[in-house]
Subunit: 341 residues, 2 copies
């Protein structure tokens, strides 16, 4: 399978985030993509560098003001006296206040839903590189390949139309899905199997009838993103019935995980999309540092087989999956089983 | 003037906050209240310990769910593995998501608007003590004294009905104002001269016709709280015309500051309240660490004279004002000039 990545990915080096009340080193490291790329190469997949597609594809999903913020924030931030090395929000809009702030500190709170998505000097290049990798993989599929994989880093599925969240800046899967809609006028399904709910992707398409969003993830009752990902969220307006959340308890093993993925596959089949976008998080592994689920490498292979048997042209988009011992093996198992189910 | 304070104030010891992208020591220290109390005592004011007033006064202003969170959060938080010593939010509700979270991490993001209001083991006792000091000062005025001063710490004016923000947990000024409304059925004006906009107080009374809120503060275009405090925010429904914001530029000196306070005084006079609540922030001083305005100790005395000449029964509530050399002197100047204008 062709593997698309952007060499700019390693220019994004977030330093710290706040978790359980303490500043801690950020787990979303450049080494993630290095390991994934090396594993894919070693397994014989052809790795190609993402083309640049300009501002169009990201502007079709994200708010212009948000994109301008992401592109300029670090430089504006750095001109402040005593500024830290990254843009980190420290104040968020409360109720009743709807004035768009003029300052970079205010805009950081406006455009960032949490403290885990700092903007450093290389973030814009890395994020746009990741989005272009997603578009490039979509292009490969639009040109006839049965599947392609975009090794996107930073990941994308927590990014909303107008704000960053959860290590994510540009919603790579949404950008790929929208690119396919734009190119084909066909329907697209997004199936997200990251252990975290794909809340940004859900929000972007929540009122849309032409894009189905399905997410299998750890129950947000006590897991990120906390405020969304519940079963009762089914879409609105033309999107009513076009969003399916399948939350599962902590500790979920392959059997239950694959059963939920089967249910998701059934809903995708019924929707009958022209193209499938898979949000491929590898953090459902028992060996992932987040340790929410107990999936195995063979579980990922089996998930790939089942999704692949839909027979849909498929754009695979890397989401989460952190520095554990099975990160590379799970990717290789998934890609191999997807190609030869 | 009688000075009311709660000895519980020093049980609240926030450790750090995020500012300009870095974790930094929190400037809202117990020493603030110690210095203010010592200065007031040295100037001959009678210092009394706040009575306890139970849950009623705070529940008249704050959401029950929020109060339950504040009271229980630290204990629940501390039972998590590897939890930091304070409740600090790290994820905030985004758009489209309205499910109240079950976990303490989710609730922290729901009930805290920023990272500057951590909840530690003594925060609840300190915050309720400060609120009771405000109620006690209101009681002194309701019993006929022309004025009383509540040395509230933590401060209150950024606290919303359902969330903490900006070093604030319970909105002491709003609780005092509401206590007076409940006791007298009369109208109350809140005049906030802290250098930061009193966004929580504004929000709490935004739809109310019986409480006027007026705030003189540094322009939020590039200053906390960033998202509110603009001149166009005038109230809604029955509260239309009952909120006045007077933002001033950074560097504002006594002359312009007092001119804005004069304008505020005129609006208060026209409203003709039964009681005035003054949000007494001492951080407009040039010597305050926030250094937004350039007011002087004599400027504070003159502000006190002008407000006092309204001739209204007045409850003075301590808001901000940080560890600079003129913190105590400015308080003493204000209280003295207020009593003998």
């Amino acid at each position: 399978m062709r593997v698309v990545l952007s060499p700019e990915q390693d220019r994004h080096e977030p330093r710290w985030w706040v978790a359980r009340g303490r500043p801690r080193p950020c787990p979303e490291r450049p080494e993630r993509a290095e390991r994934l790329g090396a594993a894919a190469r070693a397994a014989g997949h052809a790795v190609v560098v993402a083309d640049r597609f300009g501002a169009g594809p990201r502007a079709a999903v994200h708010d212009a003001r948000y994109l301008a913020f992401l592109e300029t924030a670090w430089e504006r931030w750095s001109s402040q006296p005593d500024a830290g090395p990254e843009v980190v929000p420290n104040v968020f809009p409360g109720p009743l206040f709807d004035s768009y702030p003029g300052s970079v500190t205010g805009q950081a709170g406006w455009h960032m839903a949490d403290t885990s998505c700092p903007v450093g000097p290389g973030t814009w290049e890395a994020a746009t590189g990741a989005a272009d990798a997603a578009v490039h993989a979509a292009e490969i599929v639009l040109h006839g390949a049965p599947s392609a994989y975009a090794l996107c880093r930073p990941p994308g599925h927590h990014a909303f139309g107008d704000r960053a969240a959860g290590f994510c800046y540009l919603n790579n899967a949404a950008i790929a899905a929208q690119h396919v809609v734009g190119a084909t006028s066909g329907r697209v399904a997004v199936l997200d199997i990251d252990v975290h709910h794909g809340n940004g992707t859900q929000a972007i398409f929540y009122g849309r009838g032409d894009v189905l969003t399905v997410s299998v993830h750890c129950d947000p009752a006590d897991f990120y993103p906390f405020f969304g990902g519940f079963a009762h969220e089914t879409g609105t307006g033309e999107g009513e019935g076009r969003n399916l959340n399948l939350p599962l308890p902590r500790g979920t093993t392959d059997t239950e995980w694959l059963a939920a993925i089967d249910r998701a596959i059934g809903v995708v089949r019924e929707f009958d999309p022209a193209v499938l976008v898979v949000g491929l998080g590898l953090d459902a592994l028992a060996s992932d540092p987040f340790a929410a689920f107990a999936a195995t490498v063979e579980g990922y292979a089996e998930a790939a087989r089942r999704i692949s048997r839909l027979g849909l042209p498929s754009v695979l988009i890397q989401e989460g999956g952190y520095l554990g011992p099975e990160l590379g093996p799970a990717l290789v198992a998934f890609l191999g089983a997807f190609e030869a189910p």
